[in-house]
Every structure is written in structure tokens, then in C-alpha cells.
């Protein structure tokens, strides 16, 4: 799995590409926790853009769960957007779409994680 991080003001958009499986999940989790650990500038939100994310297993869900908790501890908004149908199905069946906000696309994720600036 490849990971690209785009900075949009004080929002980090994380764009994973490929498969978030048992093999890839620990690296993904570490990347998100590094981002949320806040060595850099203050962060308002982390948005994971699922445009190129093809597959998520329970190991990937675990990484999202731990990242969402780390975000909550750091007072950073955490949301997903633009999930492909197979990935969205996994989020819905697991109930994760109830505990992590999932937006249709990046624009609505940006608008809703920073309502003051929309």
C-alpha cells in the first residue's frame, strides 16, 4: 500500500492507495499516529480520502479505530471520505461508519470537519 499526505491549511488529507490488509495495516496505523502525534504544526483535522483504497480487512479497521482514538485524545477531528463500494460495505457492516464520520467526497469532509470555514 502507498500513502500520500496532502496538507490543506491545518488539515492533513491522507490518501492510501491499494490494499489495507493484515500486512499493510501496522504501517498505516503508525503513519496516522505519527501525524496525530503532532511533531509538526497544529492540526485541526485528519481526513482519509479513500478514492484509491481498494480493500480493507478487519486488520485495517483496527488501524482506523486506533487512529480515531488517537485523534480524539489529541483533539483533532478525524473523518473518512470517498470510500469505494467494497470498502464502504466493510465500514457499514462492522458498524464503524457509526463511530467514524464518513463523507461522500473530500469537499464535504473538509466543509464538515471545519464548519467555521466552509
Amino acid at each position: 500500500m502507498n500513502l500520500r499526505i496532502e496538507e490543506i491549511g491545518d488539515v492533513s488529507c491522507v490518501v492510501p492507495a491499494g490494499r489495507l490488509d493484515f500486512d499493510a495495516a501496522p504501517g498505516f496505523q503508525q503513519a496516522l499516529e505519527r501525524l496525530l502525534g503532532g511533531a509538526g504544526k497544529p492540526l485541526a483535522a485528519v481526513i482519509v480520502d479513500g478514492t484509491a483504497l481498494e480493500y480493507v480487512s478487519s486488520a485495517g479497521l483496527r488501524a482506523f479505530l486506533l487512529a480515531a482514538r488517537a485523534a480524539q485524545r489529541s483533539g483533532v477531528a478525524f473523518a473518512l471520505c470517498a470510500l469505494q463500494p467494497a470498502v464502504r460495505e466493510v465500514f457499514e457492516l462492522s458498524g464503524f461508519s457509526r463511530i467514524i464520520p464518513v463523507h461522500a467526497d473530500r469537499a464535504s469532509a473538509l466543509a464538515q470537519t471545519q464548519p467555521g470555514r466552509a
Partner: protein
């Protein structure tokens, strides 16, 4: 015989295989001993069936309690989630212990 799957079916079976295989590795391995795992796919007129067999200790993944999918972010657990997803995505899942082997059969209807 090769079995052709469309994208949605492939995604379902890939997920099932990863979840069940990792369960076997985690529940069935002992120091120095790894279970031997065999996977087969069968397609008939109505459905596709994947069978995963291993020679590890008896373990019925269907006996795992289902996760509480309504729990809050703080209380949410991940244990049991893989098998839960498999049961949700497949039309039928059954477990048998046969001749010292665990056998899990997972079927999905072709029209679903």
C-alpha cells in the same frame, strides 16, 4: 477447474480468506508448529463455495461471540470482527471438525 469471479465476489472472498487464514494462524499455531492450510473454491449453478481446512487444534471460529457493533469509539473492540464480517458477507458459513481437521465452508449465492 478455475472459477471466475466478478469484482464484488472477488472482494468478498479475498476478505473471507484473509480473515479466516489469519484466525487459523493466530489460534492454530504453537511454538515450532504451523498448521497446514488448504483452500478450495467451487462454483455450481447457484453459488460459489470456499472451503478452508487446517490440521491445527480444534477451533470453531463461529463460536466467537459477535462484536458489539453499536459500541462507542472508546468501547469498541476489534476481536471477533473478522469472522463477523465473513458471516455478514456470505450467505452461509458452516464449521465441522473432520478427521483431525477444521473445515470451514463459506458460500455466496451468485444472484446476491
Amino acid at each position: 477447474m478455475a472459477v471466475a469471479l466478478d469484482a464484488a465476489q472477488l472482494s468478498t472472498f479475498e476478505l473471507a480468506l484473509e480473515e479466516i487464514f489469519m484466525n487459523i494462524v493466530m489460534h492454530g499455531s504453537r511454538p515450532g508448529i504451523a498448521p497446514r492450510v488448504e483452500v478450495s473454491l467451487h462454483r455450481d449453478a447457484e453459488s460459489i463455495t470456499m472451503t478452508v481446512e487446517d490440521d491445527g487444534p480444534a477451533f470453531d471460529p463461529l463460536s466467537l461471540p459477535p462484536p458489539d457493533v453499536t459500541a462507542s469509539l472508546a468501547d469498541r473492540r476489534v476481536g471477533g470482527l473478522g469472522v463477523f464480517l465473513v458471516r455478514k458477507m456470505m450467505d452461509s458459513v458452516s464449521y465441522e471438525r473432520i478427521a483431525g481437521r477444521n473445515q470451514l465452508r463459506m458460500s455466496k449465492r451468485l444472484d446476491g
